[in-house]
Symmetry: C2
Subunit: 224 residues, 2 copies
């Protein structure tokens, strides 16, 4: 798969910008090791696990807003600096928390059974993709909202690039003549957590309406 490199959103955050630019940061090696970050040192791995565990507990017990970097550090019995070294920033930590389910989702549309995975016609996959994405977003909306990065990073987030790439691919098949890039961005916009939150929680729209909206959207956009 061409964009498999993007799958893990918890690579190394970026080797901590410590000291001036004279530290030869060893450049992140993609694809090393297995699922999680490429072979951390023993203590680092242990702390990472403790931190994620503590963060998850905080979310479960007091909501995403309670996930303060200091609170997490304290709950994991670890120094604050450690949290930042491991996850870069708050967004990174929250994203790591979402990583597992996001990867499952990715797997399902990259290589799962049709109509989501390969095997079904592009338009049908597109339909299924949106509905699945909506369901997934609805599941842990609060966390996804809290994990949203600042505006100028939002489109560079690995998870988003994977989804985007997928939609572009499907669109190119489904509607060859069009500007797939832009069409894909439009479709992705419909799946934005902030929008879903607004529509479902603030406007009280039922999920079915959003899904119908997505199907209609796909229909209109792919109509030749």
């Amino acid at each position: 798969m061409l964009y498999a490199v993007f799958m893990s959103s918890t690579l190394p955050p970026f080797p901590a910008s410590q000291g001036p630019a004279a530290k030869t940061p060893v450049m992140v090696e993609f694809g090393a090791g297995d699922a999680d970050g490429p072979c951390l040192r023993a203590d680092a791995a242990r702390n990472r696990a403790r931190l994620l565990d503590a963060a998850a507990r905080l979310v479960a017990e007091h909501g995403a807003a309670a996930v303060t970097m200091e609170a997490v550090a304290a709950a994991a019995q670890v120094g604050k600096g450690t949290v930042f070294r491991r996850f870069g920033d708050r967004t990174g930590l929250l994203t790591a928390l979402l990583d597992h389910s996001e990867k499952k989702f990715q797997a399902s549309f990259l290589s799962g059974p049709p109509p989501l995975g390969p095997g079904a016609p592009a338009v049908e996959r597109l339909r299924a993709f949106g509905c699945a994405a909506l369901r997934r977003a609805d599941a842990d909306l609060e966390l996804q909202l809290a994990a949203e990065p600042c505006p100028d990073r939002r489109f560079v987030v690995p998870a988003r690039r994977v989804r985007h790439g997928h939609v572009v691919l499907l669109l190119r098949q489904a509607v060859p003549g069009a500007d797939a890039e832009l069409l894909a961005q439009t479709l992705m916009g419909y799946l934005e957590p902030a929008l879903i939150h607004h529509l479902t929680r603030q406007c009280h729209m039922p999920m079915e309406r959003l899904q119908a909206g997505w199907r209609d959207l796909v229909a209109r956009l792919t109509r030749t």
Copy 2:
């Protein structure tokens, strides 16, 4: 005009959550006074002007990132608390900075000459609206990015509601059978400052492509 109440995005921010809920906050009175905030006390008005002036100067000279609440307060020779009382928060201040041009834009599509204003067929107005919005966004992207509120307020911002309402109206005319609400959200998503920033500044797409994309989008969505 039905949604004229939303036009000024610099009403009173919200009477500062001072003290417990026993202060009878007098409820914001819409539509009082003229353009700017409804008849402030003399000193308040003076300070407001000074603050906006100082903020604008800071943006011009050192970019939006330099617009620190303390920096603005200092530059305007005013206490920090004053800045917050007047504008609520950083987003409020930045939004106030954008208010003037936003109102001009609103006027142009609410009551300006066709094809933007009333008089042209809905689809045509929709096309014109997007292209104008794209141009406007491109003008002071940095500021608009910096003014973006947290995810769960993004859709409640007055300026956004005006635009949204307008698009819904046009869509209802142009494509009667559809779910105009959702279609409008989709279209609005294409005009999101963050997206425009990504496409033009990070992907180096020319503005013309974005505009063509918009026209295509409108064409597809309004096709019966």
